[in-house]
Symmetry: C2
Subunit: 384 residues, 2 copies
DNA sequence: ACGTATTACTAATACGTATTAGCTGACTGG
DNA sequence: CCAGTCAGCTAATACGTATTAGTAATACGT
């Protein structure tokens, strides 16, 4: 069980003819205690020559905290990486974490019983803080950990505003409103919806409720027969659309809750010999990279997911610094005054949703596309 | 800089009226030293009541190794998560790592100068071992670390067989052979290729060389004008295809090195008013989930990426156990006898590649699809 | 009754670092 | 010339655990 012996500060000290304390001081660049430049250089040389690397475990032990941040994914294993959502989050998260000198630990939990892993990681000092993604069924324990002072940031968990958790949220209510109003604005009356399972998920319910509200505000009705449930994947979109097509009265437009299911739905419509959008219009949700290249190009909502990952990491790091120095050092805590952050998604109009037949002031023609910049994102949106 | 005080073994010991040693023994379930069942139960009760969680840092320090495994991605930041390759690897990797009681640290390196991070992580004991993905330009240092006894497993790095690194590889030579032979078998003469940049990448060169070789073995020639370079993204596929379409003589078929670029290429062909596959056939590579739902459904190669992640993790863990116990405990090291593992990719035939006009014994009709099982993968392939 | 096992523990130490308190000698101001 | 400062270090200790060596008490066989 022994591991290879690594070079220690003591060995470096001996070789350099100084004390271990000196080596430690030099490596941590402490300014309050001064070290002669010659000595410093000499020690650094020797350390380099000996291949000295500080032992993370010893540092963590004595400093009382790790320099790992965790990304905990409370989602069924299958959902995590099929969809580009989590990869996008990781992209933003790791970018900021790295700049702050942190490593990231990715832990996926599909079973609610394994929720105690979070406690283990935080209380065991494996990580300094965590970002939490996914629907937290019993957040009793989570909230308690947060109240004990463990830095926790949740993603898209705004439904429980009474929580003590910090939360970085994409405003999907706004997104659903944007895209459903767009469909209404074009003039569709009979609009269907391909949603996610499980139907009881808070986020899913919120989205459906918002969709329904917008319809009703504009004199439409969400027919229960026009709601179908998929499971993130294109094939479930295909199946759901098949069911819609089997009904006697077809929908004029279909709102799909993600782009992958929209792709499946479009395939089903094509297979039925119908045209998109003149027979049935389709919109997606997520703004995946390929959405500009489907047949026809897919109208969708671009959610700033990378930015969400970034902001989550930054909030976590701020939180870390604010709890460590009991007296909140001025300024730093700007992001912490508000517990909930909202990021606005953006509508990306392409051909799959059709367009107004009657001219109007802000006509959207077939070839016109709204060009958007994703906020300094490393994932620039493509508009064909 | 202080962190909240956590419950220690000493505190539990005091509360339970035993020594710290006893608590340690009980928690590690050491069988060589026996503890009375009553005492054990009593201590565990108290520990639970006090919310004791072992400190990871202290354990690592005294045991000399961490229980983290790293996944190091030597890739430009942008490439990592746009493509589902890495997410698939993570899926398989984390699945096995978790079962072995390890956490996973994901570290992405885009700058070769930051390659020393690997040294820092391994020698600093942050992680017990690493899985390496991406083209290692200077693997001088990596090999040295491996020779020093640090467990390292590389992914798809088989070009340097002289390496001391263990390697889990997908046999892309086989994959390229399968798909290019399929095109030739259908009867196409003039076949183009949309490749990756950078062109000097070893894997890219190998794939192009293989493609070329297959063509030449079958009396064709890879016209230099028919090679284009994209960058993983659909829009680069679109652009590359536009260029091919601008030439006076069109290709009959195009081999795209991934599915996303194939999507872009298909959009370009449609935009030019041409038909797929009757005017130009398209094949992709990767077997992404949506490939069955493009217009037309995309013929592609399914690479067992999740399985690659799993096998990498398993090999790393085996390696860990074999180096820790100097006397290689029998059996366990089965996977370690061979340094290089190959996983075979599978051809998935759909409509985008067209089909033989003349009947033949093993005719592939428009609607027939080769159904495949991915090897116990949690990502079952979809065939429409 | 006596030596030996066995059970059930405890005391002491090591792991590698950060940190606190202190020590030495040189320089300074008056 | 002496008190005081300060630069440049060192000794000692703490962090929380695993592990080794050892001890006290009981059981056992003869």
């Amino acid at each position: 069980m022994k591991r290879k012996s690594s070079v220690t500060q003591k060995q470096v000290a001996k070789e350099a003819g100084v004390s271990q304390t000196a080596v430690s001081l030099i490596f941590n660049g402490d300014t309050s205690i001064r070290i002669n430049d010659d000595t410093r250089k000499h020690v650094l040389d020797i350390a380099d020559k000996m291949g000295y690397v500080p032992q993370a475990a010893a540092r963590s032990l004595v400093q009382g905290h790790s320099n790992n941040l965790a990304l905990v994914l409370l989602r069924p294993h299958q959902q995590v990486f099929n969809d580009p959502y989590i990869p996008n989050i990781i992209t933003g998260f790791s970018e900021v974490a790295r700049k702050g000198g942190f490593r990231i630990v990715v832990e996926q939990i599909d079973d609610a019983s394994r929720l105690s892993v979070i406690r283990t990681m935080l209380k065991g000092g494996e990580v300094a803080g965590i970002v939490l993604s996914g629907s937290i069924s019993s957040h009793q324990e989570i909230t308690q950990l947060a109240e004990e002072g463990h830095p926790i940031v949740a993603l898209s968990h705004s439904l429980n505003l009474n929580t003590t958790l910090h939360n970085i949220d994409i405003d999907h209510v706004d997104g659903v409103q944007q895209i459903s109003k767009h469909l209404i604005n074009i003039g569709y009356e009979r609009i269907a919806c391909i949603s996610y399972a499980p139907a009881h998920d808070e986020q899913v319910q919120l989205r459906i409720a918002t969709f329904q509200k917008v319809l009703e505000e504009h004199g439409r009705r969400l027919e229960p027969t026009l709601i179908r449930y998929g499971n993130y994947d294109p094939d479930s979109g295909y199946t759901a659309m098949k069911e819609l097509l089997a009904q006697k009265q077809l929908p004029e437009a279909v709102y799909c809750m993600n782009d992958l299911m929209a792709m499946g739905a479009m395939a089903a419509i094509r297979d039925a010999g119908l045209n998109i959008p003149s027979d049935i219009a389709i919109v997606g949700y997520d703004g995946m990279r390929f959405a500009a290249f489907t047949e026809p190009p897919l109208t969708t909502i671009h959610a700033p997911e990378v930015e969400q990952g970034r902001l989550a990491a930054q909030t976590l790091i701020d939180l870390l610094h604010s709890t460590s120095s009991k007296s909140l050092s001025a300024g730093k805590t700007k992001a912490l005054t508000e517990k909930v952050h909202y990021l606005k998604p953006k509508l990306v109009i392409r051909q799959s949703c059709g367009w107004k037949h009657k001219t109007n002031t802000e006509a959207t023609t077939q070839n016109e596309v709204i060009s958007i910049e994703s906020l300094s994102s490393s994932q620039p949106l493509l508009t064909k």
